[in-house]
Symmetry: C2
Subunit: 331 residues, 2 copies
């Protein structure tokens, strides 16, 4: 079913306020959840909201906590997320990186002790909407075997890269596994095979069977050894710069995944002559889309889904929507 975006956001905000979150924070937290669903990433939007509320009820997410500055060196800052809501912490950190980039050309915030940031792309769109280049990543619980091994010892550590553009921002948002756990679950639920190999089955053979990969827990890194190495580097940098936990120190219980480490980098293109960023980005996109085939630029599908959602309502899972609405109605 479809629900108007404003209604989705309002219901989530009311649920957050009922859980004790204060006014503006509840509005922003609800907006980030609602925007994820609006943009086609329900797995980190409404569908993830009940787990967020359970983790808040258990105290793993502190709805009142805001990040605190720990150390600063010019354009580089270390912040403690104090187990606050992951999307609010990430939004505040990217905002700080953007502010630092206005002063220094580049800004970098490393954030420790935070919670799942939900849709990573949110902070890429945030940077692009502020007119700056944004790069950010998070570590995760161990959910991907390193190349050469069979058991999950790496996170799939999503990486986000964003470039502002008048005619649709370029926003890349991707895990270091070929498919996220959410994507595998969706394919399995629909009974569809993956379009390309997504992991190894229990016997060690490459497979397009999403359930076989969920069972074996052998997600494939993008580019095999390359994504495995990338994931390791992202984890080391996030943990070391922030002083927070690395993947091997994070609980492997999905309901207990907390104390994550993240990095937010912003580059203010103020020294790029006016108009050049748009001109160059447009020319690259055009050069890639001209000719044979159907080639999308990063962010293109997101924008199309957003426009559809705002026109026709946001697609929601009916059972989850009722669950959230019903809980709100209870005293």
């Amino acid at each position: 079913m479809r629900v108007p975006f404003d209604e989705l956001q309002a219901v989530l905000a009311a649920a957050l306020r009922k859980a004790g979150m204060t006014g503006d924070r509840a509005s922003l937290c609800a907006r980030l959840f609602a925007e994820a669903s609006r943009d086609g990433v329900a797995s980190h939007g409404l569908n993830r909201f009940p787990r967020f509320m359970r983790m808040a009820a258990r105290g793993l997410v502190d709805v009142h906590a805001a990040p605190a500055l720990v150390a600063a060196h010019g354009a580089l800052e270390r912040w403690d997320g104090r187990r606050g809501p992951g999307n609010l912490n990430a939004h505040a950190s990217m905002a700080r990186a953007i502010a630092l980039s206005r002063l220094h050309g580049v800004g970098c915030v490393a954030l420790a002790n935070t919670n799942h940031w939900m849709r990573g792309g949110s902070y890429g769109w945030q940077a692009a909407e502020a007119g700056v280049i944004g790069v950010c990543w998070t570590n995760t619980l161990a959910n991907m075997p390193p190349w050469g091994a069979a058991d999950p010892r790496l996170g799939n550590n999503p990486l986000v890269i964003a470039v502002p553009r008048g005619d649709g921002h370029l926003v890349l948002d991707g895990a270091m596994s070929q498919f996220s756990v959410g994507a595998l679950t969706s394919y399995a639920a629909r009974g569809e095979p993956l379009p390309v190999d997504g992991g190894h089955d229990a016997a060690g053979a490459l497979t397009r069977d999403p359930q076989a990969i969920l069972d074996s827990r052998r997600l494939l890194p993008i580019g095999f050894w390359k994504g495995s190495g990338l994931s390791l580097m992202l984890d080391v940098i996030a943990a070391a710069l922030s002083g927070g936990r690395a993947t091997h120190e994070i609980s492997t219980d999905p309901e207990g995944e907390t104390d994550l480490s993240q990095v937010f980098l912003a580059i203010d293109p103020a020294l790029v002559p006016a108009g050049d960023l748009d001109r160059i980005a447009n020319a690259v996109v055009d050069s890639v889309q001209r000719g044979d085939g159907d080639v999308r630029y990063p962010g293109e599908r997101t924008l199309a889904t957003r426009i559809e959602s705002l026109r026709e309502g946001v697609l929601v899972d009916e059972a989850i929507w009722r669950e959230v609405s019903d809980q709100l109605a209870r005293p």
Copy 2:
């Protein structure tokens, strides 16, 4: 055959001086070529040297040119490479990014109008040896189809990420294609199949046949659509920040590939408490290598090859070594 590292470096330096490069620049340029071969990347070491000399003779590489500062905004600078030697330009740019990071915590140099940087990993090792985190990338000529199309419109834009560590720096150096053109050529010359799919053949089927991919020019991006998107983002950022050319503006003749755009980013971990970077990096590497399988950390194989080369001499292609040595002997 194997040649002592010092001899390799001395011969290359003499050849560069004969071509008009001045003393210290010739020494550094030769060292970077020799180190690539020493570290097991002969394709961007000695094997690439004759092409470099041809491009210098044709004036595409100006052996006398050094980068010039174009614009600065705090920790972010734009430099013009003036078609100087790619490895010298890249080394100078990473050195400048490192210096900026000492001042500002983070430093970023965007470089336009440069030449092929040879082994990208060189500038990762450079950052790590200076005790800073380094990230850099380059665009390239179009050599990889974007996901969804069949003809090459993206570069494979190598990305380098480095973290300093007492017990062996972590240095990732990888193209956005599953295999570099050099790797495909090596597999084809040995008559070996690729260990995983590396591209599409002319009929559009995924294949492990290196020659079929060299013929079709359909290299596979790492992670399919993911590497395709990553490559596009790296190209846009490099061209826009530097004001240089994007992939679609670069000659597709390998002997005419010039005017590349690159980005060099350094993060000084001065606010990380002493010892923490090593402790965290060691723990992550240990967590990934403990248990089943044979798991390498990024840079591990490079270091092993380096030690072997310094002990037993650097492996060189005999024909190329004679070609370079003979040209030096001529008046």
